[in-house]
């Protein structure tokens, strides 16, 4: 099958991504509908199930190498300081300490887009790295940290956007506390507002959320001459490879990054950590493998978060609900180093509106840097947008869904091109029916009694259509088994399993004959990071292509073996036979056995995305809540998640991700909150009871409804990603349900008992 090289282009927020990719030259015949397949779309058990339930799955934190030593990082106790001097002499004398690195004995390695260094004397948050110790045991390394003497020059700090934006605020970077602004205009907002019959404006705020995956960030590194192997708890082996190689001045091919199992990332593990590079420097010096791991406290300080937001939204509408203008003026904290905090995308993209004005500011503060976190910007943006739309519906006397339908768009608002598919209407219909939308309070807060119930909903838009380059290699062995290799990674979402399912269905062989190996930059073809709901839509067409090629290769080989023209051969259930002569038949394992390599190899590639279309996923979630007006406690009773996500690859892993996304959204809506003490600039929530994440007892009934089937305009597998869509609308739906229950709008997340009680108290 012929290939071509293209420039693959796609948008990621404001960034226009361009990469060179090899793709199939022609559009492939798509994978059959799920109803005709044996494995794809079915409840197949996950490939990695045994390892994970038996306890034999080895994560990076479990990795032990002979002669391995341990590294621990010393971090700044101050939110803003300069290192005047470091004295490691006492720590070096501790028995078992092998080496210590600081800014004094390492070369300058640029970090955070050149705004800082691996070891920067200017410390910009509590958690900024000061030194790294290698020792025989973790305990000794830990003890050594307490023996390092650092003299700090304490500098004034700012830990809120409001104070950092003031003119006389302490400067975190030389050029001030403002990052790259996000501005956008469509049409003319002021004109649009003039055309409006009704205008609504309000301000919503959201908190900082911390990823807190259960496995801490960690790496194990080992040098083999000039080549470095890194076992890393990562979502993106190739990014880590490139980051580490660049930092150490190595060729990318001399760094091998391996990840088999990892304990969650949610966006926090898409880049190389400083600890990885420090471990490599220490390992080089000591000549032994090094393990570097963070602890839970550091996880809450240093390795990313969802930025907070203060969003002022204005919407102008005609009396019938038609939007004439929308604006989104916002700011949020991105921590001490460059990141982004914008939250306008849902407003910019989900509804039809000719006049848009956007101005989002990202602010530096003395706190841990933001990183991508499951639908960056969209979760907070959707909460604010969908809250104000419900308020607007009330003002207009319209049903909230009717108002959304009034402004429904069939074309992408930015590019004026159609969507490859959009089944949001269907999601509204099915979700509304399942939750009992008709039973919601027509007048919010009108129920009597101490415990009031409410129903609310919110919509969702995301990208997640996937893109090239993404490759998968398929090997067929002479025992009839197949093995897939791809430089993608399964972060728990089921990548191993769907790759197995697709190959088994295309080759028509039993699924247990297919094995999968992922997550090794040294031996596997490239695939991108597992973030942005990009993995399944990028990787599934690649493995499909590899399997289709394999099938063709088998037929060609069988033709030679059987001496039958290819066009007269039929491939069925792992058998190739002549149409005309039933005696001429061969099993695929025998085909492989007859050729001299005794193995057949193909490499498949993700197809090019279609021109002239926008690819987005859509969905709506509906929440039913109970609010105890005596205690302010919100109990979410039920969430209905109705989504358009293309083809379902595996119902079990799909539901798994949806339930997880909904629970994460529930945590964000009701309890999770990083708190910083303004006076000292120190974080107060560094453990898992002060930083509250939902437990099994906080879980509502969740019903997942998929309204879509394969979208073959996107790819032959027709998949859209589900990781982010699962979480985006949950907080908005819960907030709207709370409003429906009590009739008072809580405009700031998390919706905790104090806010409810105070709101009800000031109302009465």
């Amino acid at each position: 099958m012929s290939r071509k090289i293209i420039k693959s282009k796609y948008d990621l927020y404001e960034e226009k991504i361009e990469t060179i990719a090899e793709v199939p030259s022609e559009k492939e015949k798509p994978l059959a509908p799920n109803s005709k397949l044996k494995y794809v779309g079915k409840d197949v058990n996950r490939y990695d199930g045994y390892d994970k339930v038996s306890g034999s799955a080895i994560y990076t934190i479990d990795k032990v190498l002979p002669n391995m030593v341990f590294a621990r990082v010393m971090v700044s106790p101050h939110p803003h300081a300069k290192i005047k001097s470091i004295d490691v002499s006492k720590a070096l004398k501790l028995k078992g300490v092998l080496h210590i690195i600081t800014n004094e004995n390492t070369s300058e390695i640029p970090w955070y887009y050149n705004t800082s260094k691996l070891f920067d004397k200017h410390l910009r948050y509590q958690g900024d790295e000061v030194a790294c110790v290698a020792a025989e045991t973790e305990k000794i390394a830990e003890e050594a940290l307490s023996l390092i003497k650092v003299e700090y020059e304490i500098m004034p700090h700012v830990v809120t956007a409001e104070s950092a934006m003031k003119e006389n605020a302490p400067k975190i970077h030389n050029n001030g506390n403002f990052g790259r602004p996000s501005e956008y205009t469509r049409g003319n907002f002021d004109e649009g507002i003039k055309q409006a019959d009704v205008t609504i404006e309000d301000t919503f705020t959201t908190q900082v959320e911390v990823h807190n995956p259960t496995e801490v960030h960690c790496s194990v590194v080992n040098w083999d001459g000039g080549k470095l192997t890194v076992w890393d708890s990562t979502q993106s082996i190739f990014s880590v490879r490139d980051n580490v190689a660049q930092s150490l001045g190595l060729n990318a091919s001399d760094v091998r990054v391996v990840k088999k199992y990892m304990g969650g990332g949610f966006g926090s593990k898409l880049e190389a950590g400083k600890y990885t590079v420090m471990a490599a420097l220490l390992a080089k010096k000591i000549g032994r493998p090094v393990k570097a791991a963070m602890n839970r406290r550091e996880m809450n300080l240093s390795v990313g978060n969802r930025p907070d937001s203060n969003q002022t939204i204005t919407i102008g509408t005609k009396k019938d609900g038609t939007f004439t203008a929308m604006s989104h003026i916002a700011y949020g904290v991105m921590g001490a180093y460059p990141s982004g905090s914008s939250s306008y995308w849902p407003l910019r993209s989900i509804y039809k509106c000719p006049n848009i004005k956007i101005d989002n500011k990202s602010i530096y503060i003395n706190a841990g840097r933001a990183r991508p976190f499951r639908a960056p910007g969209h979760v907070q943006g959707t909460f604010a947008l969908e809250s104000i739309i419900d308020d607007l519906a009330l003002k207009l006397g319209m049903d909230p869904i009717e108002l959304r339908l009034k402004n429904y768009t069939e074309v992408d608002q930015d590019g004026d091109v159609p969507y490859t598919s959009k089944l949001l209407k269907e999601a509204y219909e099915k979700g509304a029916e399942e939750i009992g939308w008709k039973n919601r309070n027509k007048i919010p807060g009108s129920q009597t009694g101490e415990i009031k119930t409410g129903i609310g909903m919110a919509s969702q838009i995301w990208w997640g259509g996937g893109a090239p380059p993404s490759y998968a290699t398929l090997k067929l062995n002479s025992d009839g088994s197949a093995k897939i290799f791809s430089g993608t990674q399964d972060i728990g979402t089921g990548t191993y399993t769907f790759m197995q399912q697709i190959a088994a269905d295309v080759l028509e062989i039993p699924i247990d004959k297919v094995n999968v190996d992922l997550g090794d930059t040294g031996t596997m073809p490239y695939s991108g990071g597992s973030g942005g709901s990009m993995t399944a839509p990028s990787v599934s067409p690649a493995v499909y292509d590899a399997a289709i090629q394999m099938k063709q290769k088998l037929i060609s080989n069988a033709a030679a073996i059987l001496e039958v023209d290819e066009s007269n051969l039929i491939y069925s259930s792992g058998n190739i036979s002549s149409k005309n002569d039933s005696s001429k038949s061969i099993e695929i394992k025998d085909v492989v056995g007859k050729i001299h390599e005794r193995v057949l190899v193909t490499t498949g590639a993700r197809n090019e995305n279609p021109n002239g279309y926008a690819i987005n996923s859509f969905g709506a979630q509906f929440a039913k809540v109970e609010v105890d007006t005596m205690t302010g406690i919100v109990r979410v009773k039920k969430i209905v998640a109705a989504h358009d996500i293309g083809r379902v690859l595996n119902r079990k892993t799909l539901e798994n991700q949806f339930y997880g996304g909904v629970i994460m959204g529930l945590g964000y809506a009701l309890m999770e909150n990083r708190v910083i003490d303004d006076y000292t600039g120190k974080v107060l929530t560094t453990n898992l009871h002060d930083y509250k994440m939902p437990t099994m007892q906080d879980m509502p009934d969740i019903k997942v409804i998929i309204v879509s089937e394969e979208d073959n305009l996107i790819s032959p597998t027709g998949v859209k990603g589900i990781g982010e869509p699962a979480m985006i609308p949950t907080p908005g739906a819960i907030a709207n349900a709370v409003f429906n229950a009590i009739g008072v709008r809580i405009k700031s997340l998390p919706i905790t008992p104090d806010k409810i009680l105070e709101a009800l108290n000031s109302k009465s």
Binding site: N45, G49, G55, P213, Q697
Partner: protein, 156 residues
């Protein structure tokens, strides 16, 4: 100090330090890596093991405290390669995502079904709520425990 205890039904001895935690003993000395460390202070349940039949956080037990105790880790739940029905049902119900919390979840489920073979949904939630999961949303874990309870009852 030397301690004696039963580990996954075998009598063992170990030389331990006063500050050594049970989780370190299990992972470092016995190389039982199924017991995971998530928070180090008893707030996530990833290190759950059974001590004399009760689920406890092995990060908050000193190695010296287990003198004479019977310890079961995730590695002691299966019978060799043959998974315990609870483990099989975690796979069947799709109760796993990244898998890091899974061993602790299985151990907590195992204790629950030993003590209460017919738990209702509230009892399941109460017994396992000390195990945090950031991925799965918990629903399929509850399903796995429910199916296991039925299966274990039927097999008796």
């Amino acid at each position: 100090m030397k301690i004696k205890f039963t580990l996954n039904k075998k009598k063992v001895t170990a030389e331990v330090e006063s500050t050594e935690r049970l989780i370190d003993l299990l992972r470092n000395k016995f190389q039982l890596m199924g017991t995971k460390e998530g928070c180090s202070i008893g707030e996530c349940g990833a290190c759950t093991i059974l001590m004399d039949g009760k689920a406890v956080n092995s990060c908050l037990v000193l190695a010296e405290q287990i003198e004479g105790a019977e310890i079961i880790t995730i590695e002691g739940i299966a019978d060799g390669e043959q998974l315990h029905p609870i483990q099989e049902n975690f796979i069947k119900a799709g109760a796993i995502q990244c898998g890091f919390c899974t061993p602790g979840m299985v151990v907590s489920s195992y204790e629950l079904l030993n003590e209460n073979p017919e738990p209702n949904e509230e009892e399941i939630k109460e017994a396992i709520a000390g195990n945090l999961c950031r991925c799965t949303g918990y629903k399929q874990i509850i399903d796995a425990v429910k199916i296991s309870a039925e299966q274990l009852r039927d097999s008796k």
